[in-house]
């Protein structure tokens, strides 16, 4: 672990359950690590794999996608679509060398302030252990060093 490393985590939260769950954590004054930066979407089914890779490319050390519990989706079954996509995305990220613990799909309901606090703390701890994520070629000129 790198000393004093504070990972940057992007959380995509569905409006109806997880975003409300994050608010609930606030209402209950639970601890949520400041490492977590939140992007609100209407449904976890709106999260496009492009958004997740964009977050990693933009400097996130970890990404969370949080939605309603299976069966509880405000839009019937958007979270199942999220589950299918994120499972395949996980495979891709793994092949790209991004460790499993850097990406998490989970379910947090509007009443689960507790769970929201817990899963975000756990996420930060895990990513802290992994250290910073360095995208191999983030800028256009990276990877331009000559191999002699």
């Amino acid at each position: 672990m790198i000393d004093n490393f504070e990972p940057r985590i992007v959380g995509f939260l569905c409006n109806w359950c997880s975003y409300a769950g994050a608010d609930q954590a606030g209402n209950q004054h639970k601890e949520v690590p400041p490492n977590l930066k939140i992007v609100r979407v209407m449904c976890s089914g709106r999260v496009d794999p492009q958004h997740v890779v964009k977050a990693f490319q933009s400097g996130a050390d970890g990404v969370m996608v949080l939605g309603c519990h299976p069966g509880d989706c405000h839009y019937k079954e958007g979270n199942y679509k999220a589950l299918r996509r994120m499972k395949l995305l996980e495979k891709l990220l793994h092949e790209l060398g991004i460790e499993k613990d850097r990406f998490k799909l989970d379910w947090v309901s509007a009443s689960e302030g507790d769970k929201f606090s817990r899963v975000t703390i756990e996420m930060v701890e895990k990513v802290k252990k992994l250290g910073p994520l360095t995208i191999r070629y983030n800028k256009n000129n990276e990877g331009g060093e000559r191999h002699e």
Partner: protein
């Protein structure tokens, strides 16, 4: 053209300011491109705060607004209204949630301030690419359709039949009244159930705003909220309701006999029949599935017997298409059949509660006399609670009404057959609500013997000569009859019927409400409401309440002379980009996407779209856009929080 962004930072009294350094946020905001106005207020949502914000928008000619305060779930609408009052489109505002998601969850002030700056930065970046959105409205049909003429459907129809409204009430049976009409008495006050129904049925039959269609079924549903086109098939009754006086003279001449389902198959009826004496509408119907004439034989016996010439074999099934704005589904329930409870399967004189309800009914197969198969008075009857319920092997839920119903049946048995010894084998009592416990306590006087047993589905039952021997609660009970309180289950035809509506069905097979607690009569299908036991076990009072709620919901949104307001942040297909791959169509939970065969592109019906964005994330061509959650907006936010 560059934007003029105003950033309004809220201290929220001490709530935010105690943890987040708001002046530092202000300094940060002032340095951002296109930000022309930054203000801190102790409470922007207060009247004074809102006035000040409105003035600031007007005075600074702001084109975009960021409110850095509490959760948008708290005050997004409040501030959208401020924008609107200042003449700015309300969708040009973005909130940064620095109270619930920063100040209240972060102890370290520096870290909280840093996080607040990230969220603020993200909101500023996002608001720059937000677009003004307008509310759309559509014309709608103001008539209603109610499916099912039981207590729930009738209650809904009567509530809906307001001035200038027309209600189509469709019932698949030739009679109305549903299950309740089959009951002798209703718990807990033991009023006569058919008498309680009578005024409602009468009004349904005579209300000129209700078009009652019995012996009818839904065969097609097209369209959507506000504009449904529904095809209804009315099976030919072959009896002219106007001419028939319901004398019943035609029944016995009919050579066909089949089981009478209404009586739980405990009696027989003819092909021309009324299910029970006193059916409404008061006329029989010919069941063409069993009538010899419709099997090719030249039988005319009923026609010949009718002194009023009411029977007409030439009538044909009729199809009618109606246009309605909303639909109330009240398709009712069945009870699990006693044969389905394995430990009692195959044993004769084991009845489910509905069958026993018919046995004790004065309109039932024995006209209310409780007799054993050999015609004698039963010495012992055992009522078994929770059979087929509260058990992973059957239905896991408790139907909530069977305890009271079983007490009622025991009580009626005692009244009709005082010599009969009654056992109630129960595991727990479920008697919530007004009068139920009192009802139970009162019936203790019936001298029923209560036997507590762990699980009804593990009771050992064997038939020996003409006795059923039950081993339960450490006792051996020799009963002549056993009555199983089996669970309320969805109507046996619900799954096929639902193919027409495409509604959500829960794991137990009932219709799902949009939200079980806070919108119990709405469904995920806009404009389709649910009432009664089709959405789960209920007693009469709960069914009527839900039916009236469903009707009220429909009346409140479908108003003559007014247009329907639609969701604003819907999804939209860019025809120039859509490759017509069809992938989005099946993914839409609201059937809002169809394929335009002329343009060869997908088309989103904005009336049905709720803006979830599932199709947007799926669209491999990037052709579908969610108006308030575009990729560009989300990408800006991502860059913003990570900058």
């Amino acid at each position: 053209m560059s934007e003029r962004i105003g950033v309004f930072i809220c201290d929220c009294g001490p709530n935010i300011a105690e943890v987040v350094d708001t002046p530092k946020l202000s300094e940060f905001a002032k340095k951002q491109d296109e930000v022309v106005e930054v203000k801190i207020h102790k409470l922007w949502c207060s009247e004074g705060g809102r006035d000040e914000m409105k003035r600031a928008i007007i005075d600074n000619k702001l084109t975009r607004v960021v409110v850095c305060a509490c959760s948008p779930k708290q005050h997004e609408i409040t501030f959208q209204k401020v924008l609107a009052s200042a003449g700015l489109n309300p969708y040009l505002m973005q909130m940064a949630n620095i109270r619930e998601q920063v100040a209240w969850v972060t102890k370290d002030k520096d870290k909280a301030t840093q996080k607040a700056i990230s969220q603020l930065n993200s909101a500023i970046k996002r608001v720059k690419v937000q677009k003004p959105l307008e509310k759309n409205e559509i014309e709608c049909k103001t008539d209603f359709l109610v499916i099912g003429a039981g207590i729930s459907g009738m209650s809904a129809a009567l509530t809906l039949a307001q001035k200038n409204r027309k209600v189509y009430l469709v019932e698949r049976e030739p009679w109305i009244g549903g299950k309740v009409v089959a009951y002798e008495d209703a718990f807990p006050k033991m009023e006569c159930a058919p008498c309680m129904l009578e005024p409602k049925m009468d009004e349904v039959l005579h209300n000129e705003r209700i078009s009652l269609m019995t012996n009818s079924e839904i065969t097609n549903v097209k369209g959507f909220f506000g504009n449904f086109q529904v095809q209804i098939k009315t099976r030919a009754r072959h009896v002219d309701i106007e001419k028939c006086i319901g004398c019943g003279g035609c029944y016995d001449v009919c050579p066909v006999t089949v089981k009478n389902r209404f009586n739980g198959n405990l009696s027989e009826r003819h092909a021309i029949y009324s299910a029970f004496p006193g059916v409404l509408p008061n006329a029989p119907a010919i069941d063409c599935e069993t009538c010899l004439r419709y099997k090719g034989e030249d039988c005319k016996k009923c026609e010949e017997s009718c002194p009023f010439g009411a029977i007409d074999y030439s009538l044909k099934d009729e199809y009618k298409t109606i246009e309605v704005g909303a639909i109330v589904v009240a398709t009712g329930f069945d009870v699990m059949k006693s044969e389905e409870v394995k430990n009692f399967a195959g044993i004769s004189e084991v009845y489910d509660a509905y069958q026993f309800e018919r046995i004790i009914s004065s309109t039932g197969p024995t006209e209310g006399k409780i007799v054993t198969a050999d015609g004698g008075t039963p010495e012992v009857i055992a009522f078994v609670h929770c059979a087929g319920s509260r058990d992973k092997r059957y239905k896991e839920y408790c139907s909530g009404v069977c305890c009271a119903n079983t007490i009622k049946l025991a009580h009626l048995t005692k009244k009709k057959s005082p010599a009969t010894k009654i056992y109630e084998i129960y595991s727990d009592w479920c008697l919530p609500g007004k009068n139920y416990q009192q009802f139970h306590d009162k019936c203790i006087a019936d001298n029923v013997e209560y036997v507590r047993n762990d699980n009804a589905n593990d009771i050992k039952a064997v038939k020996k000569s003409n006795k059923i021997i039950l081993t339960a609660g450490g006792k051996n009970i020799e009963a002549d009859m056993v009555v199983l309180s089996t669970p309320i289950i969805p109507n046996y035809g619900l799954v096929q019927f639902n193919a027409l509506l495409g509604m959500n069905i829960d794991s137990d097979g009932f219709y799902s409400a949009e939200h079980e607690k806070i919108s119990p009569a709405n469904t995920a299908n806009r404009g389709i409401y649910i009432a009664g036991c089709c959405s789960g076990p209920k007693d009469v009072a709960q069914s009527v309440a839900q039916a009236q709620a469903a009707a009220g919901m429909a009346l409140s949104v479908i108003v003559p002379g007014e247009k329907l307001e639609l969701e604003v942040a819907t999804s939209k297909v860019n025809d120039d980009l859509c490759g017509g791959c069809h992938s989005c169509i099946g993914l839409c939970p609201y059937q809002a996407i169809s394929f335009d065969e002329v343009k060869k592109v997908a088309a989103v019906n904005e009336i049905l779209c709720r803006g979830c964005g599932v199709c947007v994330a799926a669209c491999p061509a990037g052709a579908i856009m969610n108006k308030h959650f575009t990729d560009e907006q989300i990408f800006s936010e991502i860059e913003g929080v990570l900058a």
